[in-house]
C-alpha cells in the first residue's frame, strides 16, 4: 500500500492529467470529423463529376469548432484539454522540421530562387503596408503577411505562437488564406491557359503565389504534370523559409516589447524567443544530415499532421465569433486585396523572367 504522503502528492497529479482527457477527446473528435467531411464531400463530388473546390479538413475542423464553441455552452470539463491546442501546435511545428530540408532550396535554379526571395520580401512588405493602410492591428497584419509570404496556414499557426497574437486574429487570417486558396484552384489554371503559359512558368507561378502547399501543388497539377512538379520545388523553397520568417517576426515583436518594458534585454529575448523554433531548426538539421530515412520522414510528417489536427480544432473551439465580428471586415478585405496584388506581382515576375531567361 502506498503511504498517505505519497497518496497526497500523486493523486492531484493524476487527477490533473485525467482532467485533460475530455478536452483532448473533443479536439480529436472535431479534427477527425473535419477530416471525414473533407473525404466524404470530395469523394462524392468526384464520383458524381461535380466541380467543387477541394476544401481541406482544416477549414471544416475550424468551422465545426467555431459552431461548438459559440453556439453551445461547453461544460467546463473540456476547458483544460482544449487549452492544450497550443502545446500540440508546437509539437507539430517541431516535427514539421522533418519536411523542410534547407538544402532543398539549392535544387531550384538560381532564377527561381531569386523569385522566391523577391516574392517573400514583396509579400511581407505589401501585406504590412495594406494592414497599416486599413488600420489592422499590427499583429493581425503580421499574421496575414506571414501567411501570404510563406506557406499559408502552417506559417500563420507558427507565427501566431511566436508573436503571441489573439486567437481571433489567427482564425481570421487562416479563414482568409483558405478561402483564397480554394479560389486559386480554379482561377490560376484559367489565367494560365488564357495567357498560354508554359508548364514550367506556370509551376513557378503557383509555387510562388498560392499560399497553402496543397492548393499550390494541386493548382500546378491541374495545369500539367510538369507544372505540378515545378510547383512542388518552388513551394518547398518558400516553405523552407518558414523558420527564418517566423524567427524574424519573433525577434521583431520581442524588440517591440523590449523597448517599452524590459531593462534586461538578453533575459527578455531568451524568455520571448520561441523555443520550439530551435526544435524545428534542429529537426531540419538532422534531416539535412540524413539522420532519418525516407519512411521515417514520412512518419514524422504524419505525426506533425496529427498534432496540427488537434491544433486546428482548438483554434475553432477557442475563437469567440462575437469578438471576431467586432473587428469588422477589414482583415478579409486586406487578405483578398493582398492576394490579388501578389498574384499579379508574381505573374509579372515569372513572365518577365521567362522572357529574359526562359524560366
Amino acid at each position: 500500500m502506498s503511504n498517505p504522503s505519497e497518496h497526497a502528492t500523486t493523486q492531484p497529479v493524476l487527477l490533473r492529467w485525467a482532467g485533460y482527457l475530455p478536452g483532448l477527446a473533443l479536439l480529436a473528435g472535431v479534427g477527425l470529423l473535419g477530416k471525414l467531411l473533407e473525404q466524404t464531400i470530395n469523394g462524392y463530388c468526384k464520383a458524381h463529376h461535380i466541380l467543387f473546390p477541394n476544401i481541406e479538413y482544416v477549414l471544416w475542423a475550424i468551422l465545426i469548432g467555431l459552431a461548438l464553441g459559440n453556439l453551445v455552452t461547453l461544460p467546463r470539463i473540456f476547458e483544460a484539454g482544449v487549452s492544450t491546442y497550443e502545446f500540440w501546435l508546437k509539437v507539430g511545428i517541431v516535427l514539421l522540421g522533418a519536411r523542410f530540408v534547407l538544402g532543398d532550396i539549392l535544387k531550384l535554379g538560381g532564377i527561381s530562387l531569386i523569385l522566391v526571395v523577391i516574392e517573400i520580401a514583396g509579400s511581407l512588405a505589401l501585406m504590412l503596408w495594406l494592414g497599416r493602410l486599413f488600420g489592422l492591428r499590427p499583429k493581425l497584419a503580421s499574421l496575414l503577411a506571414v501567411g501570404t509570404a510563406v506557406c499559408g496556414v502552417s506559417a500563420i499557426i507558427a507565427a501566431r505562437a511566436s508573436i503571441d497574437s489573439e486567437d481571433e486574429d489567427s482564425a481570421v487570417a487562416i479563414a482568409a488564406i483558405l478561402a483564397l486558396g480554394a479560389f486559386a484552384l480554379f482561377a490560376f489554371p484559367m489565367i494560365g491557359h488564357a495567357l498560354h503559359m508554359g508548364d514550367r512558368a506556370f509551376g513557378v507561378w503557383t509555387g510562388l503565389a498560392v499560399d497553402n502547399t496543397a492548393e499550390a501543388i494541386a493548382s500546378g497539377a491541374i495545369y500539367s504534370d510538369t507544372a505540378g512538379k515545378i510547383s512542388v520545388l518552388v513551394k518547398t523553397a518558400r516553405n523552407a523559409m518558414i523558420g527564418f520568417v517566423v524567427l524574424g517576426f519573433a525577434i521583431y515583436w520581442s524588440r517591440q516589447g523590449l523597448a517599452h518594458k524590459v531593462n534586461n534585454k538578453a533575459a527578455f529575448l531568451v524568455e520571448k524567443f520561441p523555443k520550439f523554433v530551435l526544435g524545428f531548426l534542429a529537426i531540419s538539421l538532422l534531416l539535412s544530415a540524413h539522420v532519418f530515412s525516407k519512411p521515417q520522414v514520412a512518419a514524422l510528417g504524419n505525426l506533425s499532421k496529427w498534432a496540427f489536427l488537434l491544433t486546428f480544432a482548438g483554434v475553432g473551439l477557442r475563437t469567440n465569433v462575437r469578438r471576431l465580428f467586432d473587428q469588422g471586415i477589414r482583415p478579409l478585405v486586406v487578405g483578398a486585396l493582398g492576394e490579388v496584388l501578389i498574384a499579379f506581382l508574381t505573374l509579372g515576375l515569372v513572365l518577365g523572367a521567362n522572357a529574359i531567361w526562359g524560366v
Binding site: E86, F87, W88, L89, K90, V91, V94, L95, A98, G257, H260, K261, V262, E271, P274, K275, F276, L278, G279, A282, I283, L286, V291, F292, Q296, A299, L300, G301, N302, L303, K305, W306
Partner: protein, 41 residues
C-alpha cells in the same frame, strides 16, 4: 501597453515549449528506432 510577463507565465511558457520540443524529439527517436508506427494520414 502589455504588462510585463510574470514569473509564472514565464515558467508556463518554458514548460510548454520545452515539453513540446522534448515530446517531438521523443517521437522522432521512437520513429527512428522503429519502435512505433504512425497512423497513416
Amino acid at each position: 501597453m502589455p504588462n510585463p510577463p510574470s514569473r509564472s507565465s514565464l515558467a508556463r511558457s518554458l514548460t510548454v515549449d520545452t515539453g513540446a520540443v522534448l515530446l517531438a524529439f521523443l517521437l522522432a527517436a521512437l520513429v527512428r528506432s522503429g519502435l512505433v508506427k504512425t497512423i497513416p494520414w
